[in-house]
Protein backbone atom coordinates (compact mmCIF):
# COMPACT_ATOMS: atom_id res chain seq x y z
CA UNK A 1 0.00 0.00 0.00
CA UNK A 2 2.98 2.23 0.62
CA UNK A 3 3.26 3.23 -3.02
CA UNK A 4 -0.22 4.61 -3.45
CA UNK A 5 0.20 8.34 -3.90
CA UNK A 6 -3.35 9.30 -2.98
CA UNK A 7 -3.22 7.33 0.24
CA UNK A 8 0.11 8.82 1.25
CA UNK A 9 -0.99 12.39 0.61
CA UNK A 10 -4.38 11.96 2.25
CA UNK A 11 -2.78 10.36 5.31
CA UNK A 12 -0.33 13.21 5.64
CA UNK A 13 -3.15 15.73 5.58
CA UNK A 14 -5.60 13.72 7.64
CA UNK A 15 -3.41 12.61 10.54
CA UNK A 16 -2.89 16.09 12.06
CA UNK A 17 -6.60 16.83 11.74
CA UNK A 18 -7.48 13.61 13.54
CA UNK A 19 -5.00 14.41 16.30
CA UNK A 20 -6.41 17.92 16.62
CA UNK A 21 -9.92 16.52 16.86
CA UNK A 22 -8.74 14.07 19.50
CA UNK A 23 -7.32 16.94 21.54
CA UNK A 24 -10.60 18.84 21.15
CA UNK A 25 -12.59 15.86 22.38
CA UNK A 26 -10.10 15.44 25.21
CA UNK A 27 -10.13 18.96 26.57
CA UNK A 28 -13.75 19.72 25.89
CA UNK A 29 -14.79 16.57 27.69
CA UNK A 30 -15.82 18.32 30.87
CA UNK A 31 -18.33 20.60 29.07
CA UNK A 32 -19.66 18.47 26.25
CA UNK A 33 -19.77 14.83 25.22
CA UNK A 34 -16.27 13.47 25.03
CA UNK A 35 -13.49 12.60 27.36
CA UNK A 36 -10.45 10.45 27.73
CA UNK A 37 -11.70 7.16 26.29
CA UNK A 38 -12.99 8.67 23.07
CA UNK A 39 -10.07 11.04 22.67
CA UNK A 40 -7.57 8.25 23.25
CA UNK A 41 -9.15 6.04 20.64
CA UNK A 42 -9.36 8.89 18.10
CA UNK A 43 -5.74 9.83 18.75
CA UNK A 44 -4.59 6.26 18.32
CA UNK A 45 -6.52 6.01 15.05
CA UNK A 46 -4.31 8.75 13.61
CA UNK A 47 -1.19 6.74 14.39
CA UNK A 48 -2.89 3.58 13.13
CA UNK A 49 -3.68 5.28 9.84
CA UNK A 50 -0.09 6.42 9.56
CA UNK A 51 1.16 2.94 10.33
CA UNK A 52 -1.18 1.35 7.79
CA UNK A 53 -0.05 3.60 4.96
CA UNK A 54 3.64 4.06 5.66
CA UNK A 55 4.34 0.72 7.29
CA UNK A 56 5.11 -0.39 10.78
CA UNK A 57 8.71 0.82 10.87
CA UNK A 58 7.77 4.38 9.97
CA UNK A 59 5.09 4.41 12.65
CA UNK A 60 7.55 3.04 15.19
CA UNK A 61 9.85 5.94 14.38
CA UNK A 62 7.08 8.41 15.16
CA UNK A 63 6.15 6.78 18.47
CA UNK A 64 8.76 4.43 19.91
CA UNK A 65 7.41 1.44 21.75
CA UNK A 66 9.22 2.11 25.02
CA UNK A 67 7.66 5.56 25.16
CA UNK A 68 4.24 3.98 24.72
CA UNK A 69 4.81 1.54 27.56
CA UNK A 70 5.93 4.37 29.85
CA UNK A 71 2.99 6.51 28.77
CA UNK A 72 0.50 3.72 29.47
CA UNK A 73 1.85 3.54 33.02
CA UNK A 74 1.97 7.31 33.45
CA UNK A 75 -1.69 7.61 32.51
CA UNK A 76 -2.76 5.18 35.23
CA UNK A 77 -0.47 6.92 37.71
CA UNK A 78 -1.99 10.32 36.86
CA UNK A 79 -5.41 8.90 37.56
CA UNK A 80 -4.42 7.36 40.86
CA UNK A 81 -2.31 10.41 41.68
CA UNK A 82 -5.37 12.66 41.62
CA UNK A 83 -7.09 10.27 44.00
CA UNK A 84 -4.11 10.18 46.33
CA UNK A 85 -3.70 13.96 46.30
CA UNK A 86 -7.34 14.38 47.22
CA UNK A 87 -6.80 11.91 50.06
CA UNK A 88 -3.78 13.87 51.24
CA UNK A 89 -5.86 17.05 51.23
CA UNK A 90 -8.32 15.47 53.62
CA UNK A 91 -11.03 14.27 51.27
CA UNK A 92 -11.99 10.79 50.19
CA UNK A 93 -10.27 9.02 47.31
CA UNK A 94 -11.05 10.85 44.04
CA UNK A 95 -12.93 13.65 45.77
CA UNK A 96 -12.11 16.47 43.36
CA UNK A 97 -13.73 19.21 45.42
CA UNK A 98 -10.86 19.36 47.88
CA UNK A 99 -8.15 19.61 45.22
CA UNK A 100 -8.20 23.42 45.11
CA UNK A 101 -9.50 25.99 47.52
CA UNK A 102 -12.80 26.42 45.78
CA UNK A 103 -14.73 23.19 45.19
CA UNK A 104 -15.83 24.12 41.65
CA UNK A 105 -12.29 24.89 40.48
CA UNK A 106 -11.19 21.68 42.16
CA UNK A 107 -13.82 19.69 40.30
CA UNK A 108 -12.66 21.20 37.02
CA UNK A 109 -9.02 20.46 37.67
CA UNK A 110 -9.77 16.98 38.94
CA UNK A 111 -11.84 15.84 35.99
CA UNK A 112 -9.41 17.33 33.45
CA UNK A 113 -6.40 15.58 34.97
CA UNK A 114 -8.31 12.32 35.34
CA UNK A 115 -9.47 12.41 31.73
CA UNK A 116 -5.96 13.28 30.63
CA UNK A 117 -4.68 10.20 32.41
CA UNK A 118 -7.39 8.06 30.85
CA UNK A 119 -6.68 9.54 27.42
CA UNK A 120 -2.94 8.94 27.60
CA UNK A 121 -3.40 5.35 28.74
CA UNK A 122 -6.10 4.49 26.21
CA UNK A 123 -4.18 6.05 23.32
CA UNK A 124 -0.91 4.31 24.15
CA UNK A 125 -2.55 0.96 24.87
CA UNK A 126 -4.47 1.06 21.58
CA UNK A 127 -1.32 1.89 19.61
CA UNK A 128 0.62 -0.76 21.51
CA UNK A 129 -2.04 -3.34 20.68
CA UNK A 130 -1.79 -2.42 17.01
CA UNK A 131 2.01 -2.61 17.00
CA UNK A 132 2.05 -5.90 18.85
CA UNK A 133 -0.40 -7.57 16.51
CA UNK A 134 1.11 -6.04 13.39
CA UNK A 135 4.57 -7.27 14.27
CA UNK A 136 3.38 -10.75 15.18
CA UNK A 137 1.45 -11.55 12.06
CA UNK A 138 3.54 -11.48 8.93
CA UNK A 139 1.56 -10.49 5.85
CA UNK A 140 0.89 -13.46 3.62
Amino acid sequence: MGNDLILRVVTKWLSPVIILFALYVQFHGDYSPGGGFQAGVIFSSAILLYGLTYGLDAALKVVPETALKVCASIGVLLYTGVGVVSMLRGGNFLNYSVLLDSPIAGQHLGIIVIELGVGITVASVMILLFFTFARRVTPE
Binding site: K69, V70, A72, S73, I74, V76, L77, T80, G83, V84, M87, G91, N92, F93, L94, N95, Y96, S97, V98
Partner: protein
Protein backbone atom coordinates in the same frame (compact mmCIF):
# COMPACT_ATOMS: atom_id res chain seq x y z
CA UNK B 1 -8.94 7.72 59.63
CA UNK B 2 -9.78 4.02 59.61
CA UNK B 3 -12.12 4.69 56.71
CA UNK B 4 -9.28 6.10 54.62
CA UNK B 5 -7.32 2.91 55.17
CA UNK B 6 -9.90 0.73 53.40
CA UNK B 7 -9.34 2.38 50.03
CA UNK B 8 -5.59 1.87 50.36
CA UNK B 9 -6.22 -1.82 49.65
CA UNK B 10 -7.20 -0.78 46.13
CA UNK B 11 -4.88 2.20 45.72
CA UNK B 12 -1.60 0.47 46.63
CA UNK B 13 -1.77 -2.23 43.94
CA UNK B 14 -3.16 0.33 41.49
CA UNK B 15 -0.10 2.54 41.96
CA UNK B 16 2.38 -0.30 42.09
CA UNK B 17 1.14 -2.32 39.08
CA UNK B 18 1.97 0.21 36.31
CA UNK B 19 5.39 0.84 37.88
CA UNK B 20 6.10 -2.89 38.15
CA UNK B 21 5.21 -3.38 34.50
CA UNK B 22 8.23 -1.25 33.54
CA UNK B 23 10.74 -3.39 35.44
CA UNK B 24 12.59 -6.18 33.71
CA UNK B 25 14.60 -7.66 36.59
CA UNK B 26 12.94 -10.38 38.57
CA UNK B 27 14.19 -9.10 41.91
CA UNK B 28 12.74 -5.58 41.79
CA UNK B 29 9.43 -6.62 40.31
CA UNK B 30 9.14 -9.37 42.89
CA UNK B 31 10.13 -7.05 45.73
CA UNK B 32 7.45 -4.51 44.83
CA UNK B 33 4.83 -7.23 44.54
CA UNK B 34 5.80 -8.72 47.87
CA UNK B 35 5.70 -5.30 49.54
CA UNK B 36 2.30 -4.60 48.02
CA UNK B 37 0.88 -7.88 49.24
CA UNK B 38 2.36 -7.41 52.71
CA UNK B 39 0.84 -3.91 52.90
CA UNK B 40 -2.52 -5.30 51.80
CA UNK B 41 -2.22 -8.14 54.31
CA UNK B 42 -1.51 -5.78 57.21
CA UNK B 43 -4.28 -3.39 56.23
CA UNK B 44 -6.89 -6.09 55.74
CA UNK B 45 -5.88 -7.73 59.02
CA UNK B 46 -6.33 -4.40 60.77
CA UNK B 47 -9.71 -3.87 59.13
CA UNK B 48 -10.79 -7.38 60.08
CA UNK B 49 -9.99 -6.69 63.73
CA UNK B 50 -11.97 -3.44 63.51
CA UNK B 51 -15.15 -4.99 62.13
CA UNK B 52 -15.15 -8.47 63.67
CA UNK B 53 -17.57 -7.47 66.44
CA UNK B 54 -20.29 -6.46 64.00
CA UNK B 55 -19.27 -2.88 63.23
CA UNK B 56 -19.44 -1.50 59.69
CA UNK B 57 -16.89 0.62 57.93
CA UNK B 58 -18.34 2.77 55.18
CA UNK B 59 -16.26 4.53 52.58
CA UNK B 60 -17.81 6.81 50.00
CA UNK B 61 -15.68 7.00 46.89
CA UNK B 62 -15.05 10.58 45.80
CA UNK B 63 -17.21 11.82 48.64
CA UNK B 64 -20.41 11.04 46.71
CA UNK B 65 -23.21 9.87 48.91
CA UNK B 66 -24.76 6.49 48.11
CA UNK B 67 -26.95 5.48 46.27
CA UNK B 68 -25.47 7.91 43.72
CA UNK B 69 -21.85 7.31 44.45
CA UNK B 70 -19.93 4.09 44.82
CA UNK B 71 -19.84 2.96 48.41
CA UNK B 72 -17.48 0.49 50.02
CA UNK B 73 -19.24 -1.11 52.92
CA UNK B 74 -17.01 -3.34 55.00
CA UNK B 75 -18.49 -5.85 57.40
CA UNK B 76 -16.91 -8.98 58.82
CA UNK B 77 -17.48 -11.00 55.61
CA UNK B 78 -15.76 -8.46 53.33
CA UNK B 79 -12.86 -8.06 55.69
CA UNK B 80 -12.48 -11.81 56.12
CA UNK B 81 -12.37 -12.41 52.36
CA UNK B 82 -9.95 -9.52 51.81
CA UNK B 83 -7.76 -10.96 54.54
CA UNK B 84 -7.73 -14.44 52.95
CA UNK B 85 -6.87 -12.98 49.55
CA UNK B 86 -4.01 -10.84 50.78
CA UNK B 87 -2.51 -13.53 53.03
CA UNK B 88 -2.52 -15.99 50.12
CA UNK B 89 -0.92 -13.27 48.00
CA UNK B 90 1.93 -12.98 50.51
CA UNK B 91 2.52 -16.75 50.61
CA UNK B 92 2.33 -16.97 46.80
CA UNK B 93 4.89 -14.22 46.42
CA UNK B 94 7.32 -15.86 48.80
CA UNK B 95 7.10 -18.89 46.55
CA UNK B 96 7.26 -16.85 43.34
CA UNK B 97 10.81 -15.54 43.74
CA UNK B 98 12.52 -18.74 42.60
CA UNK B 99 9.76 -20.19 40.52
CA UNK B 100 8.90 -17.30 38.21
CA UNK B 101 12.32 -16.92 36.49
CA UNK B 102 12.23 -20.61 35.56
CA UNK B 103 8.74 -20.51 34.10
CA UNK B 104 8.28 -17.05 32.61
CA UNK B 105 10.39 -15.67 29.78
CA UNK B 106 12.63 -12.83 30.85
CA UNK B 107 11.00 -9.97 28.97
CA UNK B 108 7.62 -10.81 30.47
CA UNK B 109 8.59 -10.89 34.12
CA UNK B 110 7.63 -7.29 34.88
CA UNK B 111 4.32 -7.73 33.12
CA UNK B 112 3.74 -11.00 34.93
CA UNK B 113 4.09 -9.38 38.33
CA UNK B 114 2.00 -6.41 37.22
CA UNK B 115 -0.75 -8.81 36.17
CA UNK B 116 -0.48 -10.56 39.54
CA UNK B 117 -0.99 -7.23 41.28
CA UNK B 118 -3.92 -6.35 39.06
CA UNK B 119 -5.45 -9.72 39.83
CA UNK B 120 -4.97 -9.04 43.53
CA UNK B 121 -6.51 -5.60 43.05
CA UNK B 122 -9.52 -7.04 41.29
CA UNK B 123 -10.11 -9.70 43.92
CA UNK B 124 -9.77 -7.21 46.78
CA UNK B 125 -12.08 -4.85 44.92
CA UNK B 126 -14.77 -7.52 44.60
CA UNK B 127 -14.42 -8.18 48.30
CA UNK B 128 -14.76 -4.53 49.30
CA UNK B 129 -17.24 -2.90 47.00
CA UNK B 130 -20.87 -2.37 47.87
CA UNK B 131 -21.87 -1.36 44.36
CA UNK B 132 -22.98 -4.11 42.04
CA UNK B 133 -21.68 -2.59 38.81
CA UNK B 134 -18.37 -1.82 40.44
CA UNK B 135 -18.31 -5.48 41.38
CA UNK B 136 -18.62 -6.38 37.70
CA UNK B 137 -15.69 -4.11 36.83
CA UNK B 138 -13.45 -5.64 39.48
CA UNK B 139 -14.59 -9.12 38.45
CA UNK B 140 -13.40 -8.39 34.94
CA UNK B 141 -10.13 -6.81 36.11
CA UNK B 142 -9.28 -9.95 38.04
CA UNK B 143 -10.52 -12.29 35.30
CA UNK B 144 -8.71 -10.53 32.46
CA UNK B 145 -5.45 -10.56 34.34
CA UNK B 146 -5.93 -14.22 35.23
CA UNK B 147 -6.54 -15.16 31.57
CA UNK B 148 -3.26 -13.48 30.72
CA UNK B 149 -1.48 -15.12 33.65
CA UNK B 150 -2.74 -18.60 32.79
CA UNK B 151 -1.67 -18.25 29.16
CA UNK B 152 1.93 -17.74 30.32
CA UNK B 153 2.15 -21.42 31.24
CA UNK B 154 5.00 -23.40 29.73
CA UNK B 155 3.03 -25.99 27.79
CA UNK B 156 1.03 -24.99 24.78
CA UNK B 157 -2.14 -26.39 26.33
CA UNK B 158 -1.98 -23.37 28.64
CA UNK B 159 -3.03 -21.27 25.66
CA UNK B 160 -6.13 -23.31 24.88
CA UNK B 161 -6.94 -23.52 28.58
CA UNK B 162 -6.70 -19.74 28.86
CA UNK B 163 -8.79 -19.32 25.72
CA UNK B 164 -11.63 -21.50 26.92
CA UNK B 165 -11.48 -19.80 30.31
CA UNK B 166 -11.67 -16.47 28.50
CA UNK B 167 -14.75 -17.53 26.53
CA UNK B 168 -16.58 -19.02 29.50
CA UNK B 169 -15.50 -16.32 31.92
CA UNK B 170 -16.68 -13.60 29.57
CA UNK B 171 -20.02 -15.35 29.07
CA UNK B 172 -20.31 -15.51 32.86
CA UNK B 173 -19.46 -11.85 33.27
CA UNK B 174 -21.86 -10.84 30.51
CA UNK B 175 -24.66 -12.87 32.09
CA UNK B 176 -23.92 -11.09 35.34
CA UNK B 177 -24.07 -7.78 33.49
CA UNK B 178 -27.45 -8.64 31.94
CA UNK B 179 -28.76 -9.51 35.38
CA UNK B 180 -27.48 -6.23 36.80
CA UNK B 181 -29.18 -4.44 33.91
CA UNK B 182 -32.53 -6.04 34.70
CA UNK B 183 -32.14 -5.25 38.35
CA UNK B 184 -31.21 -1.68 37.50
CA UNK B 185 -34.27 -1.42 35.27
CA UNK B 186 -36.46 -2.62 38.12
CA UNK B 187 -34.90 -0.67 40.97
CA UNK B 188 -33.08 2.26 39.38
CA UNK B 189 -30.16 1.71 41.67
CA UNK B 190 -26.85 -0.12 41.70
CA UNK B 191 -26.05 0.08 45.38
CA UNK B 192 -26.48 -3.31 47.05
CA UNK B 193 -27.89 -2.09 50.34
CA UNK B 194 -30.10 0.48 48.59
CA UNK B 195 -31.61 -2.22 46.36
CA UNK B 196 -32.07 -4.51 49.34
CA UNK B 197 -33.79 -1.79 51.36
CA UNK B 198 -36.27 -0.95 48.63
CA UNK B 199 -36.70 -4.53 47.47
CA UNK B 200 -40.34 -4.87 48.54
CA UNK B 201 -41.36 -2.00 46.22
CA UNK B 202 -40.49 -3.91 43.06
CA UNK B 203 -40.62 -7.47 44.37
CA UNK B 204 -43.51 -8.50 42.11
CA UNK B 205 -41.85 -7.59 38.84
CA UNK B 206 -40.97 -10.51 36.58
CA UNK B 207 -37.67 -8.72 35.84
CA UNK B 208 -36.41 -9.40 39.33
CA UNK B 209 -36.58 -13.18 38.96
CA UNK B 210 -34.90 -13.00 35.57
CA UNK B 211 -32.21 -10.77 37.01
CA UNK B 212 -31.67 -13.25 39.83
CA UNK B 213 -31.21 -16.17 37.43
CA UNK B 214 -28.78 -14.27 35.21
CA UNK B 215 -26.70 -12.95 38.11
CA UNK B 216 -26.48 -16.34 39.83
CA UNK B 217 -25.63 -18.15 36.59
CA UNK B 218 -22.91 -15.64 35.80
CA UNK B 219 -21.34 -15.91 39.23
CA UNK B 220 -21.69 -19.71 39.26
CA UNK B 221 -19.70 -19.83 36.03
CA UNK B 222 -16.96 -17.70 37.58
CA UNK B 223 -17.03 -19.76 40.76
CA UNK B 224 -16.90 -23.07 38.84
CA UNK B 225 -19.89 -24.56 40.64
CA UNK B 226 -20.41 -28.14 39.51
CA UNK B 227 -21.94 -28.25 36.04
CA UNK B 228 -20.19 -25.01 35.08
CA UNK B 229 -16.70 -26.06 36.14
CA UNK B 230 -15.35 -27.25 32.80
CA UNK B 231 -12.81 -24.41 32.44
CA UNK B 232 -11.22 -24.98 35.84
CA UNK B 233 -9.17 -28.21 35.58
CA UNK B 234 -7.28 -27.15 32.47
CA UNK B 235 -6.86 -23.55 33.56
CA UNK B 236 -5.32 -24.47 36.92
CA UNK B 237 -3.57 -27.53 35.58
CA UNK B 238 -1.57 -25.75 32.88
CA UNK B 239 -1.04 -22.33 34.48
CA UNK B 240 2.43 -21.41 35.80
CA UNK B 241 2.81 -22.78 39.36
CA UNK B 242 2.67 -19.35 40.96
CA UNK B 243 -0.57 -18.58 39.18
CA UNK B 244 -2.11 -21.95 40.06
CA UNK B 245 -1.39 -21.30 43.73
CA UNK B 246 -2.85 -17.82 43.76
CA UNK B 247 -5.91 -18.46 41.62
CA UNK B 248 -6.89 -21.83 43.08
CA UNK B 249 -6.79 -20.36 46.55
CA UNK B 250 -8.54 -17.07 45.84
CA UNK B 251 -10.35 -16.61 42.52
CA UNK B 252 -13.19 -19.09 42.96
CA UNK B 253 -13.49 -18.18 46.64
CA UNK B 254 -14.06 -14.54 45.83
CA UNK B 255 -16.69 -15.43 43.23
CA UNK B 256 -18.43 -17.55 45.86
CA UNK B 257 -18.23 -14.57 48.17
CA UNK B 258 -19.99 -12.47 45.52
CA UNK B 259 -22.63 -15.21 45.26
CA UNK B 260 -23.12 -15.16 49.03
CA UNK B 261 -23.53 -11.36 48.89
CA UNK B 262 -26.14 -11.64 46.17
CA UNK B 263 -28.03 -14.43 47.93
CA UNK B 264 -28.05 -13.02 51.43
CA UNK B 265 -27.69 -9.26 51.07
CA UNK B 266 -29.03 -8.26 47.68
CA UNK B 267 -32.05 -10.55 47.58
CA UNK B 268 -34.08 -11.34 50.68
CA UNK B 269 -33.55 -14.93 51.79
CA UNK B 270 -37.18 -15.99 51.66
CA UNK B 271 -37.44 -14.66 48.10
CA UNK B 272 -35.09 -17.21 46.63
CA UNK B 273 -36.13 -19.85 49.08
CA UNK B 274 -39.53 -19.77 47.42
CA UNK B 275 -37.81 -20.35 44.05
CA UNK B 276 -36.57 -23.75 45.36
CA UNK B 277 -33.08 -22.37 44.97
CA UNK B 278 -31.57 -23.89 48.15
CA UNK B 279 -32.64 -27.35 47.03
CA UNK B 280 -31.08 -26.85 43.61
CA UNK B 281 -27.84 -25.63 45.18
CA UNK B 282 -27.83 -28.55 47.59
CA UNK B 283 -28.17 -31.09 44.80
CA UNK B 284 -25.48 -29.37 42.72
CA UNK B 285 -23.20 -29.23 45.74
CA UNK B 286 -23.63 -32.95 46.52
CA UNK B 287 -23.16 -34.04 42.91
CA UNK B 288 -20.18 -31.69 42.63
CA UNK B 289 -18.53 -33.22 45.70
CA UNK B 290 -18.87 -36.77 44.40
CA UNK B 291 -18.07 -35.98 40.77
CA UNK B 292 -15.09 -33.77 41.58
CA UNK B 293 -13.58 -36.27 43.99
CA UNK B 294 -14.15 -39.13 41.56
CA UNK B 295 -12.52 -37.29 38.65
CA UNK B 296 -9.64 -36.25 40.90
CA UNK B 297 -9.09 -39.91 41.72
CA UNK B 298 -8.89 -40.72 38.00
CA UNK B 299 -6.17 -38.19 37.24
CA UNK B 300 -2.58 -39.20 36.68
CA UNK B 301 -1.10 -35.73 37.01
CA UNK B 302 -0.86 -33.91 40.33
CA UNK B 303 -1.92 -30.43 39.24
CA UNK B 304 -4.99 -31.65 37.42
CA UNK B 305 -5.81 -33.92 40.34
CA UNK B 306 -5.72 -30.92 42.65
CA UNK B 307 -7.80 -28.87 40.23
CA UNK B 308 -10.55 -31.50 40.17
CA UNK B 309 -10.39 -31.72 43.92
CA UNK B 310 -11.07 -27.96 43.91
CA UNK B 311 -14.35 -28.68 42.11
CA UNK B 312 -15.26 -31.04 44.95
CA UNK B 313 -14.23 -28.56 47.62
CA UNK B 314 -16.36 -25.86 46.02
CA UNK B 315 -19.17 -28.38 46.30
CA UNK B 316 -18.67 -28.54 50.09
CA UNK B 317 -18.89 -24.76 50.31
CA UNK B 318 -22.06 -24.75 48.23
CA UNK B 319 -23.60 -27.43 50.47
CA UNK B 320 -22.82 -25.24 53.46
CA UNK B 321 -24.53 -22.26 51.87
CA UNK B 322 -27.53 -24.29 50.73
CA UNK B 323 -28.19 -25.69 54.20
CA UNK B 324 -29.12 -22.13 55.16
CA UNK B 325 -28.50 -22.66 58.83
CA UNK B 326 -26.11 -20.85 61.12
CA UNK B 327 -23.84 -23.89 61.31
CA UNK B 328 -23.94 -24.57 57.61
CA UNK B 329 -23.01 -21.01 56.72
CA UNK B 330 -20.28 -20.96 59.33
CA UNK B 331 -18.89 -24.15 57.81
CA UNK B 332 -19.07 -22.64 54.32
CA UNK B 333 -17.24 -19.47 55.34
CA UNK B 334 -14.60 -21.35 57.34
CA UNK B 335 -14.09 -23.60 54.38
CA UNK B 336 -13.41 -20.58 52.18
CA UNK B 337 -10.48 -19.93 54.48
CA UNK B 338 -9.44 -23.56 55.06
CA UNK B 339 -9.61 -24.58 51.45
CA UNK B 340 -7.57 -21.53 50.48
CA UNK B 341 -4.79 -22.63 52.86
CA UNK B 342 -4.94 -26.30 51.90
CA UNK B 343 -5.03 -25.77 48.15
CA UNK B 344 -2.33 -23.10 48.29
CA UNK B 345 -0.08 -25.52 50.22
CA UNK B 346 -0.74 -28.40 47.84
CA UNK B 347 -0.15 -26.29 44.76
CA UNK B 348 3.04 -24.93 46.32
CA UNK B 349 4.08 -28.56 46.76
CA UNK B 350 3.25 -29.26 43.12
CA UNK B 351 5.17 -26.12 42.17
CA UNK B 352 8.26 -27.36 44.01
CA UNK B 353 7.95 -30.68 42.20
CA UNK B 354 7.85 -28.88 38.87
CA UNK B 355 10.77 -26.69 39.87
CA UNK B 356 12.88 -29.67 40.81
CA UNK B 357 11.82 -32.41 38.45
CA UNK B 358 10.04 -30.60 35.63
CA UNK B 359 7.15 -33.02 35.80
CA UNK B 360 4.03 -33.57 37.83
CA UNK B 361 3.02 -36.90 36.37
CA UNK B 362 2.57 -39.34 39.23
CA UNK B 363 4.25 -42.10 37.26
CA UNK B 364 7.41 -40.06 36.75
CA UNK B 365 7.58 -39.11 40.41
CA UNK B 366 7.65 -42.66 41.71
CA UNK B 367 9.73 -43.01 44.84
CA UNK B 368 10.71 -39.38 44.73
CA UNK B 369 9.62 -38.92 48.36
CA UNK B 370 12.84 -40.32 49.76
CA UNK B 371 14.97 -37.65 48.14
CA UNK B 372 12.91 -34.71 49.36
CA UNK B 373 11.38 -35.85 52.68
CA UNK B 374 10.47 -32.41 54.04
CA UNK B 375 8.56 -31.31 51.00
CA UNK B 376 6.58 -34.51 50.99
CA UNK B 377 5.88 -34.32 54.68
CA UNK B 378 4.26 -30.94 54.08
CA UNK B 379 2.34 -32.22 51.07
CA UNK B 380 1.09 -35.14 53.13
CA UNK B 381 -0.06 -32.85 55.93
CA UNK B 382 -2.00 -30.71 53.46
CA UNK B 383 -3.37 -33.86 51.84
CA UNK B 384 -4.59 -35.14 55.19
CA UNK B 385 -6.32 -31.79 55.75
CA UNK B 386 -8.04 -32.19 52.41
CA UNK B 387 -9.40 -35.55 53.56
CA UNK B 388 -10.43 -34.08 56.89
CA UNK B 389 -8.32 -35.96 59.41
CA UNK B 390 -8.87 -34.73 63.00
CA UNK B 391 -6.32 -32.15 64.04
CA UNK B 392 -6.22 -30.49 60.65
CA UNK B 393 -8.25 -27.65 59.21
CA UNK B 394 -10.22 -29.90 56.88
CA UNK B 395 -11.68 -31.71 59.86
CA UNK B 396 -13.13 -28.52 61.31
CA UNK B 397 -15.13 -27.79 58.20
CA UNK B 398 -16.37 -31.29 57.66
CA UNK B 399 -17.37 -31.58 61.28
CA UNK B 400 -19.52 -28.46 61.18
CA UNK B 401 -20.89 -29.39 57.79
CA UNK B 402 -21.90 -32.87 58.96
CA UNK B 403 -23.38 -31.42 62.13
CA UNK B 404 -25.41 -28.94 60.11
CA UNK B 405 -26.64 -31.68 57.76
CA UNK B 406 -27.55 -34.03 60.62
CA UNK B 407 -29.31 -31.20 62.42
CA UNK B 408 -31.71 -30.96 59.48
CA UNK B 409 -31.67 -34.77 59.01
CA UNK B 410 -30.52 -34.45 55.41
CA UNK B 411 -29.03 -37.92 55.21
CA UNK B 412 -28.30 -37.75 51.50
CA UNK B 413 -26.02 -34.80 52.14
CA UNK B 414 -24.23 -36.75 54.85
CA UNK B 415 -23.81 -39.62 52.42
CA UNK B 416 -22.40 -37.30 49.75
CA UNK B 417 -19.88 -35.83 52.18
CA UNK B 418 -18.80 -39.28 53.30
CA UNK B 419 -18.46 -40.58 49.73
CA UNK B 420 -16.51 -37.46 48.82
CA UNK B 421 -14.17 -38.02 51.72
CA UNK B 422 -13.63 -41.65 50.75
CA UNK B 423 -12.62 -40.59 47.28
CA UNK B 424 -10.43 -37.91 48.86
CA UNK B 425 -8.61 -40.62 50.79
CA UNK B 426 -8.24 -42.54 47.54
CA UNK B 427 -6.73 -39.68 45.56
CA UNK B 428 -4.44 -38.48 48.32
CA UNK B 429 -3.33 -42.09 48.76
CA UNK B 430 -2.51 -42.16 45.06
CA UNK B 431 -0.03 -39.32 45.59
CA UNK B 432 1.41 -40.78 48.78
CA UNK B 433 1.72 -44.25 47.28
CA UNK B 434 3.50 -42.97 44.22
CA UNK B 435 5.90 -40.86 46.20
CA UNK B 436 6.75 -43.10 49.13
CA UNK B 437 5.91 -46.69 48.39
CA UNK B 438 6.71 -47.22 44.77
CA UNK B 439 10.20 -48.22 43.81
CA UNK B 440 12.31 -45.36 42.68
CA UNK B 441 12.55 -44.61 39.04
CA UNK B 442 15.17 -42.54 37.37
CA UNK B 443 13.35 -39.45 36.29
CA UNK B 444 14.12 -37.79 33.06
CA UNK B 445 14.71 -34.10 33.57
CA UNK B 446 14.66 -31.81 30.58
CA UNK B 447 17.56 -29.44 30.02
CA UNK B 448 19.26 -30.34 33.28
CA UNK B 449 22.44 -32.34 33.65
CA UNK B 450 21.98 -35.26 35.96
CA UNK B 451 23.12 -34.51 39.47
CA UNK B 452 22.85 -30.75 39.00
CA UNK B 453 22.97 -29.26 42.49
CA UNK B 454 20.32 -26.65 41.72
CA UNK B 455 17.79 -29.33 41.00
CA UNK B 456 18.66 -31.43 43.98
CA UNK B 457 17.81 -28.81 46.59
CA UNK B 458 14.54 -26.99 46.95
CA UNK B 459 15.11 -23.31 47.43
CA UNK B 460 14.62 -21.89 50.90
CA UNK B 461 11.93 -19.41 49.94
CA UNK B 462 9.83 -22.17 48.41
CA UNK B 463 10.27 -24.36 51.46
CA UNK B 464 9.29 -21.44 53.66
CA UNK B 465 6.09 -20.85 51.70
CA UNK B 466 5.26 -24.55 51.77
CA UNK B 467 5.80 -24.91 55.48
CA UNK B 468 3.91 -21.70 56.25
CA UNK B 469 0.97 -23.36 54.54
CA UNK B 470 1.43 -26.76 56.14
CA UNK B 471 1.90 -25.21 59.57
CA UNK B 472 -1.29 -23.19 59.29
CA UNK B 473 -3.14 -26.33 58.14
CA UNK B 474 -2.38 -27.80 61.55
CA UNK B 475 -2.44 -24.61 63.59
CA UNK B 476 -5.91 -23.57 62.47
CA UNK B 477 -7.05 -27.17 62.86
CA UNK B 478 -6.05 -27.19 66.52
CA UNK B 479 -6.78 -23.59 67.43
CA UNK B 480 -9.96 -22.80 65.62
CA UNK B 481 -10.90 -19.63 67.51
CA UNK B 482 -9.82 -17.09 64.92
CA UNK B 483 -11.47 -18.50 61.79
CA UNK B 484 -14.44 -19.74 63.76
CA UNK B 485 -15.06 -16.39 65.44
CA UNK B 486 -14.84 -14.60 62.10
CA UNK B 487 -17.00 -17.12 60.28
CA UNK B 488 -19.57 -17.24 63.05
CA UNK B 489 -19.84 -13.45 63.08
CA UNK B 490 -20.28 -13.57 59.30
CA UNK B 491 -22.97 -16.26 59.41
CA UNK B 492 -24.89 -14.41 62.08
CA UNK B 493 -24.66 -11.20 60.12
CA UNK B 494 -25.86 -12.85 56.91
CA UNK B 495 -28.86 -14.51 58.49
CA UNK B 496 -29.67 -11.29 60.32
CA UNK B 497 -29.52 -12.83 63.77
Amino acid sequence: MTEQITILLIVIPLIAAPITALFKQNFYAWMITLLVSICCGVISGYILLEVIDGKHLIYELGGWRPPWGIEYKIDSLNAFIAFIVSVIAIVTNIFAYRSVPTEISKQNIGLFYAAMQLCLLGLLGIALTGDIFNLFVFLEISSLSSYALISMGKKRQALTAAFSYLILGTIGATFFLIGVGFLFAASGSLNISDIANRFHTFEDMQLVVTAFIFIVLGLALKAAIFPLHSWLPNAYGFAPSTVSIFLSATATKVSIYALIRVLFDLYPVDYWQSLLFPQILLVLGCVGVIYGSFRAWQQIEIKRLLAFSSVAQIGYIIIGIALMSELGLTAAVIHLFNHAIIKATLFIGAGILIYRSNTTKLEDLRGFGASMPWTFAAITIAGLSLIGVPGTVGFVTKWYLLEAAIEQSKWIVVMAIVIGSVFAIAYIWKIVEALYFNSKRKIHIHNVKSGDIKVATASKSMGLALWLGAFSCIYFGLFTEFPFASAYAVAKGLLGL
